[in-house]
């Protein structure tokens, strides 16, 4: 029996909506049902059928389950656009939730949870309460998930109505599927809540482990994922848990296996017995290998995770490298990941075989893959000293094939090999030089030039070779220009003859006068100054010994790796990024203020698709080559060898004179007069406009204290100011009123500010980004810091009693402490006075051995209170500050504030 539903898609007559309306109100059941199907079909293909809302809802009261499901579907889709009409449906929902048929009861609750309209949500509570205690497990398991839905809509409601408790009760349910869904719901709620909602005790642990054996594969995943957060008390408990989880490795579902692996790896951290660990490693290897026979998408997820696992425990798969050999038909994104893992697993024992594979790959057709294979050979050479020679000979063989991109890639990696093993393999330079003309990619060119410069004394015609590049200097990409500059300087220092001297004139001229790339210009100036003052020093610096580079194939930070391992099987482990960097809703915790630094890290995209795969995981970890460039110039800035920095201004003058350059940098004015506001936009960057600013609290109002100084030659007017989204939502309360600013004058402004106007998402940060513009200049951007103490309000004083009570009522997880080692409290009285001035109110003081402990309270707008405990020995440096607050995510900001306060 094949379907005929497709006919519902093909009504394109005029007046469709009125026609449907009529049919929906037909007295015949069949006709109504068909009409609803048509409506759903139209909805599916994206037509707006919301105008039929009332008519569809009228069909809701039906005995026909199929029709009911369709109407519900419609409701889910359109309730949001017609919130007032959606109320019409409430009665039927409530009635359905008491239907004798469990399927209908569950359906009603499930659907109501999906309708994100506040008014409906209110009516959801009672049915939900009943369904959580329903006799039928199917209804209970649906209700459990519904609590998570409700939490997403209205968290307070869930907490007020005690649904959390009900769901927790379901963990002890006798039906495993109910247990699994309750766990899933609680885990999700926990993810979005700052408060501890779902804590796994040893009691729940054993319950869940039992349920694990009986529930569906997906349920097992929920439970394993939740349990992997459990921290075992000691090694013995960890071993017990692991013992009960290991059978899951035998499950046919890849997700179950990966979640089990995650859990075992977590517990393994605690297990001390090496025998047990070794045994577990042995047990985990085969299931991990089997994951590679799954569908390619799953393989990809598995490979990304294996990549993490081998970084932590290389032994697990040390003998399994062969399974990562690429198959001809593997999608490219799988091949790329396999290659990455092969590099990680390569060892002296298997390198021959691995090289043979790499060589094979290097002759395939896919350019990106070939490049990565060549690069892989180089990385192995850097990683395994004893295999370096074999790697080089393979690379040379590849160069002989004379496929352009292979040659270029080979040169790039050979440069790294030279860096790693200096003065070992220079005999091959001649071969490399043969390919000089074919190079057309910047990185390959730059690498080749680096090699020439580095070994200028051994290459007879080094000057000719470099000269051939010089002709096109202005057209080269920056990377090549920088390298040419450095190489020429090296050449000149090594062979200070006439030819190179002329070359260096040309290069320096090109790199200073004719370029507008500041990096290039700065580097050129540094060389120029060095060469003109002290050529010997220049030699010491430019030709200094370079630090040895190392293999970068284990490039994740240990702390990041820990976090990623805790997230095995999730998106985070696939991206190799911590969840906060791509999930906006994740709760903000105090400890995670530094995540910004990861944001730029590792790969950019998530290539789930074959189409996309090329850019994401392929983006080769370029750091090894970058290292080389940085390394080549690093000595220039190395403080140990560089000459004293003092004469720089003079030199600058010389230099500018020499090059007849007229770019006159504006001298920074000596300390600005008036109040010492921090300079945020120095005149040198602001084309003569200097802005100093600081936040200031005054009479319960927040102001932005600004000082504008016009050091330019022209009058400036039409000033405007804009604040980027920030953690406190600071914004200007009114327009910036700056009169026309004549050259050489300044004006101070007190700009009133408001809070909570443009809040930024994510963890709080003290960064305040400001943009200022005027009619004459481009927009200026500068950064300021939000110092929290400015915001302390006057109503922050607390009575002793309420202080104690609040302190006790807040959970321990809200207590955060920090040592402020550089701070000394000298006079107690004066310090307290100063703190009170900033609205930080003294509560009590006690002695603890030789230390004094002070208690304070403070409050910032919106009633967020801070309870503060300062521990110190008066007169000696070092203060320990502990705070308790309902918003622990504000802690880092607070600590910054208190540090400033105590210092001043």
């Amino acid at each position: 029996m094949s379907g005929h539903d497709s006919k519902y898609f093909s009504t394109t007559k005029k007046g469709e909506i009125p026609e449907l309306k009529e049919e929906l109100n037909s007295q015949y059941k069949d006709k109504r049902k068909d009409a609803v199907k048509k409506v759903i079909a139209a909805m599916t293909v994206g037509k707006d059928v919301s105008s039929l809302f009332t008519d569809v809802v009228n069909c809701m009261q039906t005995e026909n389950l199929e029709l009911k499901k369709l109407v519900y579907l419609y409701l889910i889709n359109y309730a949001k656009s017609q919130p007032d009409l959606a109320i019409l449906a409430v009665n039927t929902f409530v009635k359905d939730s008491q239907d004798p048929n469990p399927l209908i009861r569950a359906l009603a609750v499930r659907t109501m949870g999906c309708i994100r309209v506040d008014k409906i949500t209110e009516y959801l509570c009672d049915p939900l309460q009943r369904c959580l205690k329903d006799d039928d497990p199917y209804v209970r398991k649906t209700a459990a998930i519904c609590v998570a839905k409700l939490y997403d809509i209205n968290a307070e409601l869930v907490e007020d109505r005690g649904f959390l408790e009900s769901v927790k009760d379901l963990i002890s349910d006798n039906n495993p599927m109910v247990v699994a869904n309750a766990v899933a719901a609680l885990t999700e709620i926990q993810d979005n809540s700052v408060r501890p909602v779902f804590e796994i005790t040893s009691h729940t642990l054993s319950k869940l482990l039992t349920a694990l054996n009986e529930c569906t594969e997906w349920g097992q995943v929920f439970i394993l994922d939740a349990l992997s957060r459990y921290k075992a008390a000691d090694a013995r408990e960890a071993e017990n848990i692991v013992e009960r989880v290991t059978p899951r490795l035998q499950h046919a579902n890849c997700a179950v296996v990966l979640s089990a692996v995650k859990m075992i790896l977590q517990q393994m951290e605690l297990i001390t017995s090496t025998d047990v660990v070794r045994n577990l490693c042995k047990k985990m290897a085969p299931p991990l290998v089997t994951l590679l026979s799954a569908e390619p998408e799953i393989q990809y997820v598995a490979l990304r995770n294996i990549n993490l696992i081998v970084q932590r425990r290389p032994t697990i798969l040390a003998h399994e490298i062969k399974v990562f050999f690429c198959k001809y038909n593997d999608p490219i994104y799988v091949k790329m990941e396999k290659l990455e893992i092969m590099i990680k697993l390569a060892s002296d024992r298997n390198i021959d075989q691995v090289l043979l594979e790499f060589k094979e790959y290097a002759t395939e057709v896919d350019v990106d893959f070939v490049r990565k294979a060549v690069r892989a050979i180089g990385r192995c050479a850097i990683k395994l000293e004893r295999a370096a020679e074999r790697c080089i000979s393979v690379l040379l063989e590849l160069i002989k094939i004379k496929v352009n991109y292979v040659v270029q890639e080979a040169i790039i990696v050979i440069k790294d090999i030279f860096r790693r093993y200096p003065n070992t393999y220079e005999s091959i330079i001649a071969t490399l030089c043969e390919s000089l003309d074919t190079l057309d990619e910047p990185e390959a060119k730059a690498s080749m030039i680096w090699i020439i410069g580095e070994y200028a004394e051994r290459i007879d015609n080094a000057d000719e070779l470099l000269e051939s590049f010089l002709e096109s200097f202005p057209e080269e990409p920056a990377q090549v220009q920088l390298q040419l500059l450095t190489a020429t300087v090296k050449l000149f220092l090594k062979k200070p003859t006439e030819g190179p001297q002329q070359m260096i004139q040309v290069v320096l001229n090109n790199a200073t006068v004719e370029t507008d790339n500041p990096d290039l210009r700065d580097r050129a100036y540094i060389y120029w100054r060095l060469l003109s003052t002290d050529p010997e020093a220049a030699k010491d610096i430019v030709l200094a010994e370079k630090p040895v580079i190392s293999d970068d194939s284990n490039l994740l930070e240990p702390s990041l790796l820990d976090e990623l391992l805790a997230n095995i099987a999730t998106l985070s482990s696939v991206y190799h990024k911590p969840p906060e960097t791509f999930v906006t809703r994740v709760k903000a915790t105090a400890q995670k203020t530094e995540d910004d630094e990861y944001a730029e890290g590792s790969e950019a995209g998530y290539p789930e698709s074959s189409a996309h795969s090329a850019d994401g995981p392929t983006s080769p970890p370029t750091s090894s080559s970058n290292d080389a460039h940085v390394g080549a110039t690093r000595p220039a800035s190395a403080p140990s060898t560089s000459p004293p920095a003092a004469p720089v201004p003079d030199l600058m003058g010389d230099l500018l004179g020499m090059s007849n350059n007229s770019i006159v940098p504006v001298d920074q004015p000596s300390t600005p007069p008036g109040p010492p506001l921090p300079v945020l936009l120095p005149a040198s960057t602001g084309q003569g406009l200097q802005i100093s600013a600081q936040l200031k609290g005054q009479d319960g109002q927040i102001f932005y204290n600004l000082l504008f100084e016009n050091n330019s030659q022209i009058p400036l007017d039409g000033f405007m100011i804009q604040f980027n989204k920030n953690s406190l939502g600071l914004a200007a309360a009114g327009p910036l009123q700056v009169p026309q600013l004549l050259p050489g004058t300044s004006v101070a402004i007190l700009l009133p500010m408001v809070l909570f106007q443009n809040m930024s998402a994510g963890p709080p940060s003290s960064l305040l980004q400001v943009a200022v513009k005027n009619n004459q200049q481009p927009v200026w951007y500068f950064n300021d810091k939000i110092s929290l103490h400015v915001f302390f309000t006057e109503d922050g004083r607390m009575e002793r009693g309420s202080f104690l009570e609040t302190w006790r009522s807040l959970p321990d997880s809200n207590e955060i402490s920090k040592d402020l080692p550089g701070i000394t409290v000298n006079g107690v009285e004066s310090t307290l006075d100063r703190l009170v001035e900033s609205n930080m109110f003294f509560i009590a003081k006690r002695k603890h051995s030789n230390q004094d402990v002070f208690y304070f309270s403070a409050k910032i707008p919106r009633g967020v209170a801070f309870l503060i405990e300062l521990t110190t020995v008066v007169g000696t440096p070092g203060v320990k500050c502990a705070i308790k607050t309902p918003s622990p995510e504000m802690a880092p900001l607070f600590f910054e504030a208190i540090e400033t306060l105590l210092k001043s």
Binding site: Y138, K322, Y328, V403
Partner: protein
Amino acid sequence: MFIQHSNVYLMAASRQNCNAASLISFLHSVVDHYFEELEEESLRDNFVVVYELLDEMMDFGYPQYTEAKILSEFIKTDAYRMETSQRPPMAVTNAVFLDVVESVNILVNTNGQVIRSDVVGALKMRTYLRLLLGYSDVGLVYMLVYKAATCCGMPECKLGLNDRVLLEAQGRATKGKAIDLEDIKFHQCVRLARFENDRTISFIPPDGAFDLMTYRLSTQVKPLIWVEAQVEKHSRSRVEIMVKARSQFKERSTATNVEIELPVPVDASNPNIRTSMGSASYAPENDALMWKIKSFPGGKEYMLRAEFSLSSITAEEATPERKAPIRVKFEIPYFTVSGIQVRYLKIIEKSGYQALPWVRYITMAGEYELRLI
């Protein structure tokens, strides 16, 4: 994240750090378990059922049930049901079919060394055991399958294999062949904890077809069918390929449906092919020569010789040619590489019905690649 299945994309979107492995597995199981022929047309034809299905399969992003059997109990819209394994007419009641299917994956490099070989086996089971229960409350069906089944008529089964660990644990002398299975995966219905304890495979089979167990061995396997090829370029315009295929298994077994795919240059034309057995044809769409041998007994060797003309204009630059490996497909019935044997399949049925197990063995080529040319 998404997967593609013929002309349909299945996609899941998430705002959270969701379990990627689980979701992708879920998407695959949506395709595998329920839609036998999933394509745009069948979606259109069944959009109502599909809505209902997805509704049951996933709630708020959490996969719920994916087993066709259970789902079909929730969804009564049978009208245009396209799929779920049509139960055969109940002529064969109470029979259990067990197919032991092994596929051999092999990778041979240019020097003729086997660089990787493994065997992936699966015990595919089809059961037609009668459900003796007349249940009415559909909401409780999964209870029935997962919990209550023992007492309500689904028989419990026990499977015995010649697994070395098991035999040794039972203290039996490992006479004859016992094998080491490396990584065993079981279907949902097998009691994993019990297997972990005493390596007994005990389970209550769902009705219908399913993979009871899969396993993997990575012992070195001698390539069952060895292919050697020589390519001679006589001039710029003519290429000659000589291929030898040899079966390296016992004479009493016979490989059937052997297909050898030989890559040929992209610009080859005018094929002239002679074979000592089977038929060969040129498949320009794959740039390959397909050599098919219906029946290939053990210990035999067959030859193929082919000549092609090449378009005489060749690019001066040596662009790398697509280097496809030789691929081989075959089936060898009544034979397993691993030597796995089903020692017994006990069906413990309280009601006294006798169920008959049938066991078949077959070996197939999986990813069988020889990089010879």
